[in-house]
Symmetry: C2
Subunit: 296 residues, 2 copies
């Protein structure tokens, strides 16, 4: 195995949540971990990962059989945007489809809860990124149940078992996707409360970053424990054999980017896309064409 690939696999493995395990984020997962990687190696390793990714992406498009969907979740300031920027530099933008999900529109709210995410899926040969995703429907909506708009939902979709029902529905949907060629890489950027405060302060103190800060960021911090609990249950219930979660320590941005690149590269390596081999008829056609072209 390629040495860079082995490194990616070894980095990713311990971050993966085994299906069926009981996750307690604040107890079991250190947001400041760097898994023994040193800061000064990180740039070279990330550049290697990005190069590997670009090569795989080219074959993924040529083979035209699989898509890769990267699901990126994490609290405000956990580094989602920066991770996308740094991990996908070097990728062919034509083969990447990035979807950011903010507050749903009235049109989206009046459909079933997975509808807007299904519409945004990458087609075969592409890498899709969900910057926030269908998991918001069991995170922010769970922390703020008013967002469920329960007065418009039929009984099964708003009763006491709505969250376990949604976990099951999400798992079923993801299994369907994987079986039909959309492979899924789920990344949770795990940030500490202290590091979030530091990043917010930076946004307030640097005029160029002011636009990134809003009053709701502070408001949401009051729900920190609720979010930790919702994330923990989500990780416990929706890390499946077909689409496992990775909890990526995010207090060090350089490490979060490296680990995310490693997880994506690892999935691409499992797919192992190949350039299609031309049929004998294709070869004959090309030989003919080459002869004509050479003749001017």
């Amino acid at each position: 195995m390629d040495q860079r690939l082995r490194f990616a696999k070894e980095l990713t493995g311990p971050l993966r949540i085994p299906p069926g395990s009981e996750v307690d984020l604040s107890r079991d997962h250190d947001p400041a971990s760097t898994a023994g990687v040193r800061r000064k190696e990180a740039d070279v390793l990330l550049a290697q990962g990005a190069a590997l990714l670009a090569g795989y992406q080219d074959r993924l498009a040529a083979q035209d059989t699989y898509a890769v969907l990267v699901v990126l979740q994490g609290l405000d300031a956990s580094g989602k945007d920066g991770t996308i920027k740094h991990v996908l530099r070097g990728a062919n933008p034509q083969g990447v489809l990035i979807s950011t999900f903010k507050e749903p529109s009235a049109e989206e709210l009046s459909h079933d809860f997975l509808w807007r995410y299904q519409r945004a899926l990458p087609s075969r040969g592409k890498i899709g990124i969900f910057n926030r995703s269908h998991y918001e429907e069991v995170l922010v909506v769970r922390v703020h149940p008013g967002l469920l708009a329960a007065e418009h939902l039929p009984e099964p979709a708003r009763g006491p078992d709505v969250w376990s029902r949604r976990y099951r529905e999400i798992n079923d949907w993801e299994r369907y996707l994987v079986d039909n060629g959309v492979r899924i890489v789920k990344i949770m950027l795990n940030l500490s409360r202290q590091e979030q405060a530091r990043r917010f302060l930076k946004r307030i103190r640097h005029p160029d970053k002011n636009w990134k800060f809003s009053a709701s960021d502070i408001h949401e911090r009051a729900y920190w424990d609720d979010y930790q609990r919702s994330f923990s249950e989500m990780l416990s219930k929706t890390s499946t054999s077909w689409a496992p979660w990775h909890v990526v320590p995010a207090d060090h941005k350089w490490f979060a980017r490296l680990a995310t690149a490693a997880a994506i590269v690892g999935e691409l390596a499992d797919i192992d896309p190949q350039y299609p081999v031309p049929s004998p008829a294709d070869r004959a056609m090309m030989a003919q064409a080459a002869a004509e072209l050479a003749g001017g």
Copy 2:
């Protein structure tokens, strides 16, 4: 119970396929049946059904909790377009969303097989009609496996169990929809081979109907038995408690329309949508507004 509604329920019941039953279309279902209804009653009964439907539709929109999805399947000339036209006259067009599915585009083909159907779902308060539907993916695609485009599919989606897998995936998806408020009425218009021939001849002999005829119609007749088998298995495997199939005898157009209207009205009656009751605060606001308006 309203007498018109009782009639609709009594007409629909025997057409419904019990979940888990083994269907043999050509053996068990007579396309020429009219279930004891006489031709001369039909117009009045259909007008009554259309009026009931319009009333329910108004409350469905006001309640804004459920959508109804009508899935209409049937061979060429089985009367799908005419049924839609006659059953929905009287309905408010703003609350109806009709989607016709023909050959998929390249963009649609490069997504998972349910993708284009998910995009076309009705929002809450609306009645959606699928004129042909996701069931084509286990009908025409099964009869002509070349349409599967298997060379672009990953193993699970093209292996020997692709059809049973698709039945399961469709059932899972429909269960999710029903639980989230999209109620489903599935109608299979069951036409005899002889009546199809008569209708094709009519299309060939009447200049105004020529446009409805194409050479592929005759070509597809060669696959009659394959279609009967595929329909039979589809009905056996995807008639579920949450979304049962109705096999509607379609040799008599007037009967097919009446029975389809009855099935839709029956589902709307089960939903039993109600106008929202204003809250005390709403009432006070309206009393205030009325006083101001009356004062000029």
